[in-house]
Amino acid sequence: MTVVALILLVTATKAQTLQSLFEKYSEDERFTYVTVGNGMMNFASKFAGSDKKGKEMMSKMKSVKILTLSDETNSSIMKSITQELDKVVETGNFETAVEAREKGERVHIYYRLTANDNADMLIVTKEKNEFSLIWISGKMSKEEMMHTFSNNGKTINLFEQGENS
């Protein structure tokens, strides 16, 4: 019983850390904060387009929260949110799913499983003068979440069938 209570407490603390980061900066006038929760089905169909599998997966999302900061990369606010984010990722049991860099643009995707098969996906994009933090939560596996960002669900297969004849 005590162990269960402790696990629940730890899980709640982790959620609060990410939650508190969003809450803190959503109040800050330098940030743009957007949250979508209700009517995710409607939004899912818009985003996934004609991709049936994508629609199904998007419908499993419960909420999307976005924090955007348009400022210089080396500004104090940019530094402080980056430091706080690093701590959240470190203490929040997030695992790195994707890390991509392209001409000064960076995308980091982190993933973690929470209670009752719920999962959190944290997307961090860093560009010249913009920093965005996207928090997606829902009942989705890592593969399902990644499908949302794949190119029509294409995967890499070195030994394709039917080509070795």
Partner: protein, 172 residues
């Protein structure tokens, strides 16, 4: 810039005229936006992109659908009532914790469409960034796959050789 600040304040209070809103849109479209006001650019970009959206279905089809809907209106009325009651009950029991809204420079914009458009735009941007950075890797894998084709043939030859060897052993 002060004029634009005043106009923006008026805009968020919902007191701007059509002309003033046009002036604001033109200002943000001009690309010559002061750094302090740049944060509002995305707001006006979204409104601009909405203008370019076209209807998915021809108007005639929509009208026909509406007529059909009228015919089954009475039948569906009861179901809708039940569904609405259930939704209300669910809402009362489990009030939604997350709403659809945006906060731009401290101003709360309770507009679901705007919030959804913003999220859609951001997610598409991430998708584009990922696809762009993954392209060289995908190309490399494609080349590697091509280079490995002769290997696939070799694997087939090895399988045939094993079969032949088994046959020889059986005959012996």
């Amino acid at each position: 810039m002060e004029i634009m600040n005043e106009l923006l304040e008026k805009y968020f209070r919902g007191e701007t005229s059509v002309d003033e809103e046009t002036e604001l849109k033109q200002y943000f479209k001009s690309g010559n936006v002061s750094s302090e006001l740049k944060i509002y650019s995305s707001l006006f970009e979204v409104f601009d992109s909405e203008i370019n959206e076209k209807a998915n279905k021809p108007l005639i089809k929509v009208i026909q659908n509406q007529r059909k809907q009228k015919r089954i209106w009475i039948r569906t009325f009861a179901y809708t009532g039940i569904a609405a009651s259930l939704t209300l009950l669910l809402f009362l029991k489990f009030p939604f914790q997350v709403d659809n809204y945006a906060v731009v420079s401290g101003n709360k914009i309770e507009d679901t469409e705007f919030a959804e458009k913003y999220v859609e735009k951001k997610l598409n941007h991430v998708k584009d960034m990922l696809n762009k950075s993954m392209t060289p890797m995908n190309d490399s894998f494609e080349n590697l796959r091509k280079d490995l084709r002769p290997m696939n043939k070799l694997i087939n030859v090895k399988v045939k050789m094993d079969e032949l060897q088994n046959l020889i052993q059986i005959k012996k």
